[in-house]
């Protein structure tokens, strides 16, 4: 694992609050993500973990607070800006383009890297074709990496769940992100699939140096994979630190197991 540089903060979330009507999903949550680390966000159901990711990549608009990404501070992110800035994302319940093949899904992830204009694409000739081949080569590298060669031309709607999750990770990787947000990448998987996915996540972090923020419920996975863990409960950050620190925190144990009265 790449040693995280303590001074190098990629993303800083400051006092972000988000509410839906009367429900307070996030209450003044602050935390940061360092360049090159694997950062886990955990918490019981309804703690506001997914809301946090949605705020980070601009899908939700926080009521107040600030997000500093790559040195630029904003009150909120725009989804398009977040994508262009290098934030990629996978979803809790797979959000693939169902009618398209696995290959096309991952190719779609290259959208922001496409340089040729529509007129060239129309002719699909010369530089346009060369560029398309180049993107295909990059995408094939990802396909190799994720070991999904055999299903590249299958419409993703027909794939089993575990493979869909992998294709979704591939689509996010195709964006060559600086920050990868994974929302429960291992939900609903069996042990073997979880091991595969953990390996992919660690390899992404090692080989590409991608910073990863992940939400996961499997504590064994979280404790093994992550460099630092933030714990949310009812929209409040109740703990933050290395896996060992978090494991020993009495507040965290109480949040998960309840307090004896």
């Amino acid at each position: 694992m790449r040693a995280p540089d303590t001074d190098d903060i990629l993303l800083q979330v400051e006092r972000v609050a988000l509410s839906f009507g009367g429900v307070k999903a996030l209450r003044d949550v602050s935390f940061n993500i360092r360049k090159g680390e694997i950062r886990a966000i955990i918490g019981p159901n309804g703690a506001g973990k997914t809301s946090m990711l949605n705020v980070i990549n601009g899908f939700y608009r926080p009521n107040h607070g600030a997000i500093t990404f790559k040195g630029r501070t904003r009150a909120k992110m725009q989804p398009f800006e977040a994508a262009r800035g290098g934030i990629a994302r996978t979803f809790q319940n797979v959000a693939l383009f169902k009618g398209m093949s696995a290959l096309d899904n991952i190719m779609a992830g290259r959208t922001l890297k496409v340089r040729c204009g529509v007129l060239w694409q129309l002719l699909r000739f010369g530089p346009a074709l060369a560029e398309e081949v180049e993107h295909r080569r990059k995408v094939e590298e990802i396909i190799d990496f994720l070991e999904i060669e055999t299903i590249r031309k299958v419409p993703v709607g027909r794939l089993p769940y575990g493979l869909q999750k992998r294709v979704e990770l591939g689509r996010a990787l195709a964006m060559e992100p600086d920050l990868l947000l994974l929302d429960e990448p291992m939900a609903g998987m069996n042990l073997e699939e979880k091991e595969d996915m953990s390996r992919f996540i660690m390899d992404v972090n090692n080989h590409f140096g991608t910073t990863i923020a992940l939400i996961e419920h499997d504590m064994a996975v979280v404790m093994d994979l992550s460099d630092r863990v933030a714990v949310l409960d009812h929209g409040v950050k109740i703990a933050d630190g290395t896996p060992d620190e978090v494991k020993r925190s009495q507040t965290v144990i109480d949040a998960y197991l309840g307090i004896a009265h």
Partner: protein, 375 residues
């Protein structure tokens, strides 16, 4: 056994990304193009069966080509980008009337300002293409609501376009150059000195337009823009988060789709009808195009051709068949029967294969690859 790709190895990504990566498909396409570009004109020129009269060219092939083109346009918007449109007929009309105005010279009197905008008559080819661009512009305008509304609601918004332009071309005499009957006559089809008159020439002209535009459309849909359209169709939120701008993707789909439909409309008026009234582009035309796309296969260029053929040819066949078979039926009964059979055929097809002919063919191909073994 014939349809096998065994032994056809692709060594480059470019080969694998070709329109027809399988050799047999390429051969079939070459034969089809050969028949369309050489066979049909030869047979028609020498009046060899089945081209003894011009009926097959005029009543079937010519409208088939133009409607297939319009169906490709509709498919880009509805099938690829997932924006339901009931205004295709209106965009055909915009293409046709714009081309007509440009070909006969545009004169906009601005009396209050004391001068007039006058554009001299343009050549036919320029008029047809500019008619397409005019349609694209209006398409973008009517595509703006799609950023806010989706699905059936958007369909209703595009229906508004249909009714508005039906009304405009019927009631505003400026569009028809103040023709008292409201119908307009297309100018002579002069392409840089080559005048297109006979049915064979008209057929070749349309074939050329359709082939070129179909290839360009295919290039777009298998390139990045096409992937953006399909991404918006399948999951717009995820599309936005990978950096696709919905505004750009949707409006380009409206523009490209309306352009193709506009050109088809101009061809329909200029090459097929010759003279026409606003009724030629009514809501029925829009519905026909939508049916073609649904039955042919949403999100398939080839499906657009098959759908157009089905919607156009089956009613004609049903009309002609009883007489050919010598059944003693009155023309009225035949017409009623035609509606009944055609309607139930559509129902049957959609129940059997909701994804249309294009999917049927791809399933067929899958099976054929393995034939005679089941696996």
């Amino acid at each position: 056994m014939l349809y096998r790709e065994a032994g056809q190895f692709k060594t480059t990504y470019a080969e694998d990304m070709a329109i027809f990566p399988i050799r047999q498909d390429r051969i079939a396409l070459a034969i089809l193009l050969g028949i369309a570009f050489i066979g049909v004109p030869l047979l028609a020129t020498f009046r060899i069966w089945p081209f003894g009269s011009d009926y097959l060219l005029w009543a079937i092939l010519l409208p088939f080509l133009i409607l297939a083109l319009a169906a490709i346009g509709t498919n880009i918007l509805v099938g690829y980008c997932g924006q339901i449109s009931l205004g295709s007929g209106a965009f055909m009309a915009i293409g046709a009337y714009s081309a007509y105005k440009l070909a006969t010279g545009v004169h906009i009197p601005l009396a209050s300002l004391g001068f007039a905008i006058a554009i001299p008559p343009l050549p036919v080819l320029a008029s047809i293409l500019l008619g397409g661009f005019m349609s694209a512009g209006v398409g973008i305008l009517f595509g703006i609501p799609s950023l806010r509304i989706k699905g059936l609601y958007l369909a209703v918004a595009t229906l508004a376009a249909q009714f508005f332009f039906d009304w405009a071309f019927l009631r505003l005499p400026w569009f028809t150059n103040y023709a008292p009957s409201g119908s307009v006559n297309a100018p002579e089809l002069d392409f840089f000195g080559v005048v297109v008159r006979t049915p064979v020439e008209r057929y070749l002209l349309c074939l050329l337009f359709v082939t070129v535009l179909a290839v360009l459309a295919k290039n777009l849909v298998r390139g990045n823009l096409g992937r953006q359209w399909m991404a918006i169709r399948d999951m717009d939120i995820a599309a936005e988060l990978i950096g696709i701008r919905p505004l750009y993707a949707k409006l380009t789909a409206f523009a490209v789709s309306s352009f193709i439909i506009g050109v088809a409309g101009a061809l329909w008026g200029f090459v097929y009808l010759g003279s026409w009234e606003p009724l030629a582009f009514s809501i029925e035309r829009s519905l026909d195009l939508l049916f073609m796309v649904i039955i042919g296969g949403l999100g398939s260029i080839m499906g657009s051709f098959i759908g157009a053929a089905f919607i156009l040819i089956v009613p004609i066949l049903l009309n002609v068949l009883p007489t050919e078979l010598g059944l003693p039926l009155s023309t009225q009964t035949i017409t009623h029967l035609q509606f009944i059979i055609f309607g139930s055929l559509i129902c049957y097809l959609l129940i059997k294969e909701p994804h249309g002919f294009a999917r049927l063919i791809s399933i067929g191909k899958e099976k054929l690859r393995l034939w005679p073994f089941p696996y």
